[in-house]
């Protein structure tokens, strides 16, 4: 993904547009008719009790869980008809890392990044950014701690340069330093034109980060009053927005 493409001014169409979206896990309706709109370059926090449907919502937005009824358009792709088309444009950080335990950190990041046709320079930069370029580089993933695995997983995501970041509890399991890196990555991503949706129970940290908060409960979404004026709405797409964050 070239930077100039990402820096285009905000398009009129929202990045995420859901109307009455229903997603079933087996016979269980994890999403029972969600309405959600997210504009480009926004940081949206999803919160709600366990089992509310946050993870399913993120997975549905990534095109993994089929939306069985309602409207669902992400990055201009209709998820109801063709959810595969959106996948290579989003990055999902899930609870499960999906890494190969027997391969080293560098092997894993390289494999997943090459699969997404990422540039070699981006791969190295992503690993450096997450502090994986030193000793950890050649350690097999099976021997990493939870936080280190999470960093590896994040490096794979960053190297792909997705247009929509979907982070499922990105702060969980990370140390202070790791959390700061996550927040910085998220801010940089939106500055570069990406959109971020994250779920978190770490409200102190996330409320500070987010432009908008959406509460999920019972498979439904409820938008809350914004915690503070949003950067993007105050100065839509403008360079001065960086100063405010």
């Amino acid at each position: 993904m070239e930077p100039e493409h990402l820096d285009r001014p905000t398009e009129a169409a929202p990045v995420v547009h859901l109307r009455g979206a229903v997603a079933l896990l087996g016979r269980f309706p994890a999403l029972a008719g969600v309405d959600l709109d997210v504009d480009r370059r926004r940081i949206v926090l999803l919160r709600g009790p366990n089992g509310a449907g946050k993870t399913t919502l993120l997975r549905a937005l990534a095109g993994l869980v089929p939306v069985t009824s309602g409207e669902a358009v992400v990055l201009g792709v209709d998820l109801v008809t063709d959810r595969r088309a959106v996948r290579h444009r989003v990055g999902l950080l899930a609870h499960a890392t999906g890494l190969y335990d027997e391969l080293t950190v560098a092997d894993n990041v390289r494999f997943w990044s090459r699969a997404a046709r990422a540039e070699a320079a981006d791969v190295e930069a992503a690993m450096a950014r997450l502090g994986l370029d030193g000793r950890l580089r050649d350690v097999s993933v099976g021997r990493l701690s939870t936080g280190q695995r999470r960093r590896t997983s994040l490096a794979c995501l960053v190297a792909r340069r997705p247009e929509l970041w979907l982070l499922d509890e990105p702060h969980a399991g990370l140390d202070q330093d790791g959390r700061d890196i996550v927040d910085a990555l998220v801010r940089d991503a939106t500055r570069a034109g990406a959109t971020v949706i994250l779920s978190s129970h770490e409200l102190d940290r996330s409320l500070d980060l987010a432009d908008e908060v959406v509460t999920i409960a019972g498979g439904l979404a409820h938008r809350e009053p914004r915690p503070r004026p949003s950067r993007s709405s105050a100065t839509p797409g403008g360079p001065t927005s960086e100063a405010m964050s």
Binding site: P66, R84, R87, G91, G98, L99, L103
Partner: protein, 222 residues
């Protein structure tokens, strides 16, 4: 598709290089099967010699089953299925890559087993062109059909029991064909073996086409 296939095959082979599960566990298992056959059949009365091609391929088939189980157990890690779907890899490429990786591992195993047979059963290897072509074609059959049925069984708790049930009846023609072709090659009548190679080639082609077309829908679910 080719890029993705090579990437996936490279990943699987690198994984084997780092973990050495096939080398440390599957190869000894295959050699053990050869020794057990010698215990079961009287080696002095020429029984072993007459049955060598069949025993060889039965040993390959069972070891191949283990290699296939291994090939899918590395993909069974938590979240790996999602990661593959999100990766942007072409499903046909994933299929071909896994077939390629399993084939390479099986070929190494077959060479080691052939050495084992030559030493333990005192088999005189001959008829090289037919022998080599049979090995390559039969290996492709096992890897292609195994990978396709492997993904049918993948991600299920009954995987270990379902795969042999699905795969072994399907591979019966390959077992018959490769054994007859080996008999023909070792017996100095290679012309009898080539029709079997033809039949196995049709089989291999069928499963490669089915896998290339079917892997996407199979990866895609729920």
């Amino acid at each position: 598709m080719i890029h993705d296939a090579l990437l996936v095959a490279g990943k699987d082979l690198r994984l084997e290089l780092r973990s050495r599960v096939a080398l440390n566990q599957i190869v000894p298992f295959a050699l053990l099967v050869l020794v057990l056959f010698a215990f079961a059949l009287d080696p002095d009365r020429g029984l072993l010699e007459a049955a060598t091609p069949g025993l060889y391929w039965v040993a390959v088939l069972f070891s191949g089953l283990l290699a296939l189980q291994r090939s899918f157990s590395v993909e069974a890690a938590d979240g790996n299925h999602d990661a593959l779907r999100l990766s942007g890899l072409d499903p046909a490429g994933i299929f071909l890559g896994k077939v390629l990786a399993v084939s390479v591992q099986l070929l190494v195993l077959e060479v080691l087993l052939a050495v084992g047979v030559a030493v333990l059963y005192s088999t005189h290897l001959g008829g090289w062109p037919l022998l080599l072509v049979t090995v390559v074609v039969a290996t492709t059959c096992i890897a292609a059909a195994g990978t396709l049925y492997g993904v049918v069984a993948a991600g299920l708790r009954v995987r270990e029991t379902l795969l042999p049930l699905l795969l072994l009846p399907v591979l019966a023609p390959v077992l018959i064909g490769s054994t007859r072709a080996f008999e023909a090659a070792l017996g100095g009548t290679p012309s009898e073996g080539w029709p079997w190679v033809g039949l196995m080639s049709v089989f291999a082609l069928l499963y490669i086409v089915a896998g290339v077309l079917g892997f996407g829908p199979l990866l895609e679910e729920a």
